[in-house]
Structure formats: structure tokens, C-alpha cells
Symmetry: C2
Subunit: 107 residues, 2 copies
């Protein structure tokens, strides 16, 4: 096996449970909820990171890290449009999250 070891790892959580936890972690900070609210309410117009930074009590670099977190979770995507980056909701993953949380709370 080319020097790789086979490790049997027991699975304790379902894929849905792990996906829920990851999405929830992305939503677990008010700055990130604010960002998602902002983007979801402004789907039609531009959503540059600079549009948000003036309304928030955090540094640009900190905002950038929060955007990175949301990108990592798949909830947003950035379309490069130099020197700006236009952020948008990632609709496919947003819908997936909607279904996941929907069926979690509604049973």
C-alpha cells in the first residue's frame, strides 16, 4: 500500500450530523450571520467586502478571515472583478443548508 497504513476509523456521526455541525459553525458568529444577511438581502447589487466593513466594528483583515470561513463552509463565493471581489451567496449550498436545517427542525 505504498507505505500508507490502513487505519480503521469508527464513525460515530452521520454525514448529515457532520455537515450540520460544519454549517452551524459557520453561522456561530454574529459577524458571519451579519454578512450572510447582507449578501442574501443584496443578491442583485454588488457585495464588495468594503461595503460591509464600515458598518462593522472589526478590521478589514478580520472581515476577510470571516469571509474565508464562509467560503470554506461553501455558503458564499467570491467573483474576482479587480480590484474588487464581489461576494455572493452560493445558491446551491445555501439551498442544501436550507433543506438540512429544515428537516432537522421539522420532524
Amino acid at each position: 500500500m505504498n507505505g500508507m497504513e490502513v487505519v480503521k476509523k469508527e464513525k460515530y456521526y452521520t454525514d448529515n450530523q457532520e455537515r450540520m455541525a460544519k454549517l452551524a459553525k459557520a453561522l456561530s458568529n454574529p459577524v458571519r450571520v451579519y454578512i450572510l444577511d447582507f449578501l442574501a438581502n443584496n443578491l442583485d447589487r454588488c457585495c464588495y467586502s468594503g461595503d460591509m466593513v464600515d458598518d462593522l466594528p472589526i478590521a478589514r483583515s478580520t472581515l476577510s478571515e470571516h469571509l474565508k470561513e464562509l467560503k470554506k463552509a461553501g455558503l458564499i463565493q467570491g467573483e474576482i472583478n479587480p480590484p474588487y471581489i464581489k461576494y455572493c451567496i452560493n445558491q446551491a449550498n445555501w439551498d442544501e443548508a436550507k433543506v438540512l436545517f429544515g428537516s432537522f427542525f421539522n420532524r
Copy 2:
């Protein structure tokens, strides 16, 4: 004002945004999602902490801390029934969370 100082604190996030973030933080760990899944699927029968600990790769004390987190967020409640504690979903807050997440994702 009895020695207390008045501090004007600017508010950057709506109450809903802060409540969302708090609820999401409670959901941001797979153990806690597992617990909620377990309780929500077993509303009719007993839900002692011991019922879950054998299925999870964590110590009893760690499970207890996760239960405390969920209680703090209001998503569960514990009915003492010595020497057991029967945990249940807190239906009112569960429904509030359902509405919050529902209107967040569905707009």
C-alpha cells in the same frame, strides 16, 4: 446610580442575528447535533444521559458539558428523576429556532 457606570454600547447586530449565532454555536459540534437528533427522535421514551454515552467516543463528564451547553442555549431541558435525569427537547425554544432558521434560509 449606586456606583454603577452608564456605558453606551453601540449595537452592531440585530437581536435575531445574535440569537442565530448563539443557536448555531450550540449546533456547531457533532456531539451536540447527535444529542439533539437522539432526543428529537425519542420524544416519547426516556432520554437519560447514560442512554447516549455508550454510543459516543467521549467521557461521561464531556457528555455532561455538552448537555450543559445545549441547556444554556435553551434547546433542551432536564427533568430530575433521581438518580436519573431525563433530558428532553425544549419544545418552545426548538420551535423558535425552527422559525429563526426557517426565515433565515427562506427569503
